[in-house]
Symmetry: C2
Subunit: 395 residues, 2 copies
């Protein structure tokens, strides 16, 4: 094993240990983000994992796979037919038992095909277990997220060059996306949800700040048409208006999701005040965040801060679209577990990487949002986002 | 019914007729592209279709849905719980029977949940039936694809401004994407396959033209990392090298997928000759294409043309990654049925919208590709692509 890959190659060992603990006899993984995590390739493959063996069946592009994977050559099989996988499963694992599948991502049609082919095995979901393992990031993953944060910063700096009265949301977004791309953004926004269309990321100004499209209870933008109803629109941005820019980036598969709020020109006093309260709420979360804290505790810290600052009414949006979370895991998917959700007893651990996101929506004034990427430490949290946490004015 | 919506509102009626013909008692649709097609909204909804009734259950963003849909107000229900859908199914349909679902797109986890809730009904796949109906485009859909083709053209024109010796594939792609976006590209590349990551579209130059990543047997590019192994890389483009640009666009949910080949500087003679043969092959398909022709016939026309021009060896790539198709349907998904595949007896019909795509890959020389969007007519085909079909030189 290449010594640079020692950390990565432990991922499969840890997964095998968990399968044994859970009494799952084998797993068949197909989703590209999981293949990339466990085997280093996103090419079309089938990864068979038994208690003692892992085999990568390559459906296409063997040359790419061999250059990409850290598995031993003997673990890589040219050809990805499910009958071959079945034969290998019977050779390296039990003749029957519990078979782990990615039920959150596997299309039903393929699930039915697999249950017919692997008829002697009982399918069980291992999506949650994989998500659980992926929560804790190793040093290589964190370095990728840091680079995604640098790419993100290039996009935010571009806003300051382009934002002015009369520019449209779409023109602004196009320039941000171009700057991100040139800085190395891989151009995807990975979501485990297989039916997720939001343009390249939310951007909204003026009255669009309070129009919340269906995909999430946050600031979404309204998009260009009903087909992709989120992200920038053709609305022209006026002087003194707030603009929220939340277009994620991706480096080596790892995302950054960081939101900043801008003003075209100078901020009105009530907008500046609203942002001041927002930053205090965000700071209250960041200073409370460490390994061992539960999601619910952090949510309550934020809610109490909003209450004490007199902005509880605007906290996380307006009913019925008020959010009940203040952040989420981030990595190979832009939104991963854990969700920092109200009431969630789930406790954070060292080396989780999370977003911390808060917005305040005040009808008649607009909305402001801050979202940062942080690494959970034993005694606190370390920001991975590098963009200044201020209300940016362009005039 | 709003008279402008008459054509669109017929879509559900036609689907109901087909369900009756197929002996399917009802269908529950969840996928956003199908919701948008049948109900005009991509917001999170559940569409229940029985023999005589269609109801849209809105999970979130009722305000958006009411502004977007052409269904009557009485057909739109605030709230999308599956128990409510079940109650409505029992009220408007039979108490049991065959229940159509989108099994190609529905995640297995949700499929299992639905089969438990709708336990009295037997699930059957209606994905193919929906795809079949969506093949034939109405005038409004064709107008959207025409606009996507105009947006596409803005990207291709940008290549001519940016391409020069020393520019990287990524820099070139970023400028194309920015020009497309400013021209109105909605920024998505919809694929029915739920695990499809290819950056924003293929772009490749020089030796990358012959490195075929796993997602499709075409010119893919190699991407920035193994996580997203297709699309532009950081390779610098050299003088006289071929560059293939194949970055799709989207307008009101409808795509254009059009490929052009460029040279940084002046084309070498063998590249110009290769492109000349390519265009002849493409022309042979376009002049043979009309309603009533089978996919296999068109494939054989192309193969015979390649043979007669002495380029059969380079036709559709190099083994083992040679393609066996020369085009595909296009619409709300960038790749839809039908596939113009070798051996496919499927016959084309009037108002199908297709791409016609051919590439020639000649080791040592590079690769050239042409892809156009056309509308099938009774007696021929009408190009919807507007970009010139030439080998573009920048010097």
């Amino acid at each position: 094993v290449d010594p640079r890959c020692a950390g990565k190659s432990q991922r499969l060992n840890r997964f095998q240990s968990r399968l044994r603990e859970l009494g799952i006899d084998a797993a068949i993984l197909l989703h590209s983000r999981d293949l990339y995590y466990f085997a280093g390739t996103a090419q079309p493959c089938v990864l068979l994992v038994t208690a003692g063996e892992s085999l990568l069946f390559v459906r296409r592009a063997l040359d790419f796979v061999l250059a990409e994977t850290w598995l031993d050559r003997a673990q890589v099989i040219d050809g990805g037919g499910f009958q071959d996988v079945l034969a290998a499963l019977k050779a390296f694992g039990p003749a029957g038992g519990r078979l782990g599948l990615e039920l959150d991502a596997l299309p039903a049609e393929l699930f039915l095909k697999l249950t017919a082919i692997f008829a002697g095995y009982r399918p069980v979901d291992v999506s949650g277990e994989i998500a659980r393992q992926r929560m804790r990031k190793d040093s290589e993953e964190i370095a990728c997220i840091e680079e995604a944060c640098r790419i993100m910063n290039a996009g935010h700096r571009r806003v300051l060059e382009v934002l002015r009265e009369g520019v449209t949301e779409l023109e602004l977004a196009a320039e941000v996306e171009c700057a991100q791309r040139k800085a190395g953004h891989e151009g995807i926004l990975a979501m485990r949800n297989p039916d997720f269309y939001i343009s390249r990321g939310p951007l909204a100004s003026g009255e669009n700040l309070l129009r919340v499209s269906g995909f999430s209870n946050t600031i979404t933008g309204v998009g260009l048409s009903a087909a992709v109803p989120a992200g920038p629109s053709r609305r022209r941005i006026g002087t003194g208006e707030l603009v929220v820019v939340d277009i994620p980036t991706c480096h080596k598969g790892y995302h950054c999701d960081e939101t900043r709020t801008y003003v075209a020109g100078r901020a009105r006093e009530e907008a500046a005040d609203l942002f001041g309260a927002l930053r205090e709420i965000s700071d209250s979360i960041l200073s409370s965040l460490s390994a061992g804290r539960s999601c619910a505790e952090l949510f309550e810290v934020a809610a109490a801060s909003a209450e004490s600052l007199g902005v509880a009414e605007y906290f996380l949006g307006v009913e019925p679209r008020r959010a009940d979370f203040i952040g989420h895991g981030i990595g190979l998917d832009a939104n991963e577990p854990p969700i920092l959700r109200k009431g969630s007893a789930f406790r954070l651990e060292t080396d989780f990487v999370l977003t911390v996101e808060v917005h305040l929506s005040r009808p008649g004034c607009g909305a402001v949002k801050l979202e940062d990427v942080v690494r959970v430490r034993e005694d606190g949290c370390e920001p991975l986002s590098i963009t200044e946490r201020e209300l940016f004015e362009t005039g």
